[in-house]
């Protein structure tokens, strides 16, 4: 084989690989954009970057309010009470997204359904777009991408989300790098060991990080439509379980799944987080709306 041929074949391969890589971005970004367009921010005031001078409400002053906080003009109009003028909360927030990209997330029970990781990726990126549009800073905990805003950050997020892979079956959430007092979004199927999740969430809660747990499940995982002698394998092949009558296991499996959801809900409640389940079979926009509302809830 001549050098020229070798070179050309290498170039061709490189190009093919590059195209394979690149082709993921626009569709993912586009679908995330489309998804984000479904949610119109409008219920609360964080519509643009501001210095926080939007009027929000007057409230009677209480002990501990600084004098400088008192709105004298409003207070003068009333007979006795002093009022404090509160402004709309417009501080920029940081949101860290952690996305489970383990092998188990690559499962989809039917060709017509997206895999769980695809769903999670779309949700994550769409949420990032929405939040950035609202002026927030978004980072990705998986690759340690610190929260920032701007188009460049969106591109970085996009590539990190689209390219990211995890070879383990059930990866562990990484929230240690998340700055304190930020917000966290954990997208996973939470089917693996729950202890690392518990540690991550409680650890984050200790650092005043509030957040959201979204469990992404495939419909088959909630239905367990199996029968007969079956060997179940995890996606990475690390776990196997053999049964002779899969249909006998259904009730107990569903019970365990319900327990798992209850555990997560309890964990979220204790940490002041929120928990929800989304299925790959149902529209992503509903899940996105819930995510967005959950992040915005307390304001």
């Amino acid at each position: 084989m001549s050098v020229a041929q070798a070179t050309s074949s290498t170039t061709a391969q490189l190009r093919r690989e590059a195209e394979t890589l690149a082709e993921k971005f626009p569709p993912l970004l586009a679908s995330a954009e489309r998804l984000a367009a479904c949610v119109m921010p409008g219920e609360h005031g964080r519509r643009r970057v501001g210095t926080g001078d939007e009027f929000w409400q007057y409230r009677p002053s209480s002990a501990g309010d600084e004098i400088s906080m008192i709105d004298w003009r409003r207070s003068a109009r009333s007979d006795d009470a002093l009022f404090v003028r509160e402004k709309e909360w417009q501080a920029v927030q940081s949101v860290m997204i952690w996305l489970d990209m383990g092998r188990s997330m690559h499962f989809s029970s039917s060709k017509s359904l997206p895999s769980k990781v695809d769903m999670a990726r779309r949700l994550a990126l769409a949420l990032a777009i929405l939040l950035m549009r609202g002026g927030e800073r978004v980072g990705l905990a998986n690759s340690g991408l610190p929260p920032r805003n701007g188009h460049a950050q969106l591109m970085r997020l996009n590539s990190a989300i689209a390219e990211g892979e995890d070879t383990t079956d059930y990866p562990v959430p990484e929230l240690a790098d998340a700055p304190a007092r930020t917000r966290a979004v954990l997208l996973s199927d939470f089917l693996g060991d729950l202890e690392p999740v518990r540690q991550a969430v409680t650890g984050a809660a200790d650092r005043a990080i509030e957040g959201v747990l979204l469990q992404v499940l495939d419909p088959q995982e909630e239905a367990f439509p199996f029968a007969g002698r079956t060997v179940f394998e995890s996606m990475g092949g690390t776990l196997t379980h053999e049964t002779l009558k899969a249909d006998e296991l259904r009730d107990r499996y569903l019970e365990r799944l319900a327990d798992r959801k209850a555990e997560l809900w309890e964990l979220a409640r204790l940490a002041g987080w929120q928990f929800n389940v989304c299925r790959t079979g149902s529209p992503a926009s509903a899940a996105l709306l819930w995510l967005y509302m959950a992040l915005a809830r307390e304001h």
Partner: protein, 921 residues
Amino acid sequence: MWALGPLAFANPWLLLGLPLLPILWILLRTVPPAPVRRLFPGVALLLGLADDEVQTDRTPWWLLLLRMLAVAAAIIGFADPVLTPRADTVREGPLLLLFDGSWADAPNWSVRNEHVESLLGEASVAGRETAVVSLTDLPPRPVLPFRSARNWLSDLPGVGPEPWMPDGPAVLSWLSGLDGRFDTFWFSDGIAQDWRSEALAELQERGQVSVFESRHPVLALKPARIGDGTIQVPVARSRSNETSAVVVVAHGLDPGGIERQLARVDVEFPEGESEAEAGLSLPPELTNRLTRFEIEGIRSAGAVSLTDDSLGRHEVAIIAAREEREGSRLLSPTHYLEQALRPGADLIRGSVQDIVLASPDVIAMADVASLAGSERNAVEQWVRDGGLLLRFAGPRLAASDIGREAEEVLLPVRLRAGGRRVGGAMSWGEPKRLRAFSAASPFFGLTVPDDVTVSSQVVAQPDPSMAERTIATLADGTPLVTRKRLGNGQVVLFHVTANADWSNLPLSGLFVQMLERLAVSTRQTLPSAEDLQGTVWTLERRLDGFGNVSAAGTIAGVDGVRLVTESPGPDLPPGIYVGESGTIGLNAFGASEQLAAAVWPVDVPVKEFAASQSLPLKGPLLLLAILVFMVDVLATLWQSGRMSRMGAPAAMAGAVLLWHASPAPAQEQDFERLVSAASEVTLAYVITGDAAVDRVAAAGLRGLSNILVRRTSVEPAEPVGVNIETDELSVFPFLYWPVTDAQPRPSAEAYEKLNRYLRAGGLIHFDTRDAVTFGNGSGGSNATKLRQLATSLDVPPLEPIPHDHVLTRSFYLLQDFPGRHAGRNVWVEAAPADALQAEGMPFRNLNDNVTPVVIGGNDWAAAWAMDAQGRPMFPVGRAFSGERQREIAYRFGVNLIMYVLTGNYKSDQVHVPALLDRLGQ
């Protein structure tokens, strides 16, 4: 072969596999079904969940049983079991299988053969030497051709029934020459024969005889004859108590020369009678075209009666010189001719030109001297085409100068002036008698009565060719009848008058016989031996034992006498014989023969042969094994959970369907629907099988119906889908046919129905829906499909809708016919090329009929389509212009339906000025 009661096995050693079944049972029981490997992320939640029961690691007993059953069926099936309920006497020694082999065997031939095959099979198992002999096809020497039975099996298909009966004396002499001992299985045809008892005695001397006979009576047709103006075909049956009714079918050629069934008649046997008559009354046209009669449903030479000239009636045209002498009919120049011809021919009269047009078989001219030039040419042409011109002399011919100097085309010989008179009052000599006919004459063999005399005649001018043209002479050698071949036809001249003026020949029976021999008239009865003396007939079409008629090939001619005196035999095969004077049909079953059932002595066992004596079970058992295996596959899938829960019932249904393997019963006509469709104007669309297209078509017609109700007085009912295979089309004035790629080609019956629909004034609107210009070999796949669909349709030449077509003004004035697409080309039946511009009108006087098809590709249904709320279902075009296009599409639809319902009514407006003009007067 190893027998177990009535069950015999060809490969019994295979049954040794049956003891293996218990071992298989144990093996299968211990091997659990293989697990399914599934990727499932939720496995983490499953860890530690133990199975409640461990029993299912073994194959369930019923599945085992199923598999055992399948394997057992396969083993037994491959052992080739044969169920033989008949316990035949398996004997030793040589065996003779004797067939009658006559036509009476033909209806049961295949059943007999099966029986013979099973007998041969048994004989080969028993190792008996066997001979198979057919009495209609005896071996030349009285030696039985003994061979191994298996050897005969391969020869058996070569033995067939012959269309004649065994020759009794020959059979007896052959049988008496046999020696040695053998048993005989005699397959009798069931007809009584006088030689049967003797033959039976001969056979019984040599061994045991068993007789096999069909229990069905033998039916046969006798030659048809004319009686009381109808054709009568006698039907005979061998047993007078069975088969009370048969159907006799008359076959013949249609005007196109294709053989068809021309008539059929039910015949009922009177109780206890062995013969019945089928009477048919057919117009002469049909009678002349008859070729044979058959008993329906019976394949046998005896059940076929070939027709010959005795049924056919020639058309004879008679042209006489004068017709004026009314009242003295006996003196009419043609009276005796008519009398001679009337029983056997249809007579026509008229001018020469009319007669030639009618193309008769014979033109007889009595004392006609000359014909006008054009008439002469017409007659000459007719003769050259195969006609027979029969001329009689008379005073006019004698007085004329015709044929004096040179030979006249329409006369066989030159004539001397004046003729001659012999034996008259003014002449010398006796009236002349006729000389016996020579061998070269067509009259050879007819006896000449002594009292036939000739007193006057026209005399032929001696010519070199005269000798060969003379076919009858007077005693003194002067020609009396001369004949000349002219093209395919011939000209015959009787040198005497056709009445008794010159000769008493026309008064004699010889005259009639001569006319018959010349094929001028036809016989009414079978010719007698005397009539046929000296004639030679060749077989043209022969009849085989099964009653099939085929070309005979070249076979030496036979003496005519044999045709009426002998029965058919190997050297006189039945069929149609052709001779100089016509055709004679020799039937396998003659008019004088009788059918009676054979009677056997009590000590001879007579058995029936049944359709199948032994039942091979290999096929059914293997089929059972396969089916059980298939059930096993399904059951295993279901049991191991590989078949999804939803799939299981479907698979079961599939298995059930497979089991039945019969098509669903044809859909019953929905008469309610037809009645409602007939009672109101109903638009219909052809169901294409593509659900989306059908839905759009239905919605489109619904939309069009809405528009029609709103704007016109046409108020159609809810449109219906029509299945062109099963539905009645005639109640729908209009069929919308969206063409899809995937549509199957309609069946031949459906095409017939569609063509009937089109001819009866229906209109089919083909829509390729792809806006591709149609015509000139271009077009998309739908257009190609349309072309395929329409090839078998009776579609006239087409043209794009001309600007003056009625469709352009049947309700709205339109020049465009858009649907969802705005293709311009919409094709309708082409106007006749000679259509003229109507006076004072901007359009032509167009043809009177409605185009049977409208073909285009504008997807009209989509433009018309409305949902239940009356809103358009599909966008058309863009914005306002699109709505305008939809409006025009609606208008086209209205015009189309108006055109369908009122035809060319609008075109009739061109006649208004003329009508007004006429009213004014």
